[in-house]
């Protein structure tokens, strides 16, 4: 047995190790403006695809309309891909974009 006054080895406290979420880069689900899809239709699609209430859906629809695009979600690649598929099935111009540099 070691002597009682023997110092214990130093332990290094590391910050929380990367979770899968932080390891995997985020992807933004972006909806782009176009001249063909009506505002009411876009609002309805956002409610249907994301389960948003009307207020939130309209907020994002207005962003699309006024700013040219709206970031609808930040997700893992698989989930972002799923949302883009759903939005494009409704014929909206939607893409996924890597988040960050």
């Amino acid at each position: 047995m070691p002597p009682l006054d023997m110092p214990l080895p130093e332990t290094e406290v590391r910050p929380e190790t990367d979770s899968q979420e932080t390891r995997e880069p985020g992807y933004l689900v972006v909806c782009w403006n176009d001249p063909v899809n009506h505002m009411t239709y876009v609002t309805h699609v956002f409610q249907t695809v994301f389960g948003w209430n009307r207020q939130k859906a309209e907020k994002h629809m207005l962003e699309v309309h006024e700013q040219g695009r709206s970031v609808l979600a930040r997700e893992s690649f698989e989930k972002a891909e799923f949302f883009v598929h759903q939005l494009q099935k409704f014929s909206l111009q939607a893409t996924l974009e890597p988040d960050g540099p």
Partner: protein
């Protein structure tokens, strides 16, 4: 077009014979108008991963469009969901899923017609001149406008402009 009844589960609408014929004629146009593929990303440095995802998307959308066509045909051929009425009218009994199927199909047609017209920027006031080559696409845009507005107002619980 008239909303006969609605509740959270089902929307019942009545189309007279002209409206039903117009809907059928418009939907039939889909087969003659191709859709342009849309990218899954605007990121110019497209990795192999994203290239593969773009191909997956194109395939999924192609299959989906075929499903829309089959789904709509099944809907409009089903006497329970599209019930013949006197004088050629139809009573459509639509669940939320049926209504979204119709909305997606109408919008798919709408975008196809718009692309065939050369993607005019309506918001900027562009109005294509009517020609023998494009009048059907212009007509399709008008018809899909009307049906979409009506369906959305029905789903929202508002009365469409009648």
């Amino acid at each position: 077009m008239k909303i006969v009844s609605r509740d959270p589960e089902v929307l019942v609408v009545r189309l007279d014979s002209r409206e039903y014929d117009a809907l059928r004629a418009a939907l039939a146009l889909r087969a003659h108008l191709p859709r342009r593929p849309r990218p899954i990303t605007g990121d110019t440095a497209v990795s192999k991963h994203l290239q593969s995802a773009s191909q997956d998307l194109a395939q999924a959308l192609g299959e989906h469009r075929h499903e829309l066509g089959r789904g709509i045909e099944a809907l409009l051929s089903d006497p329970k969901r599209c019930a013949p009425q006197p004088r050629g009218a139809r009573l459509l009994t639509l669940t939320a899923e049926d209504a979204n199927l119709l909305l997606q199909t109408l919008n798919d047609l709408r975008v196809r017609a718009w692309e065939r017209l050369g993607c005019p920027d309506f918001e900027a006031g562009e109005r294509p001149e009517v020609t023998e080559d494009n009048f059907l696409c212009l007509w399709a845009l008008q018809v899909t406008d009307l049906f979409q507005a009506f369906l959305l107002s029905g789903l929202d619980g508002e009365e469409a402009g009648q």
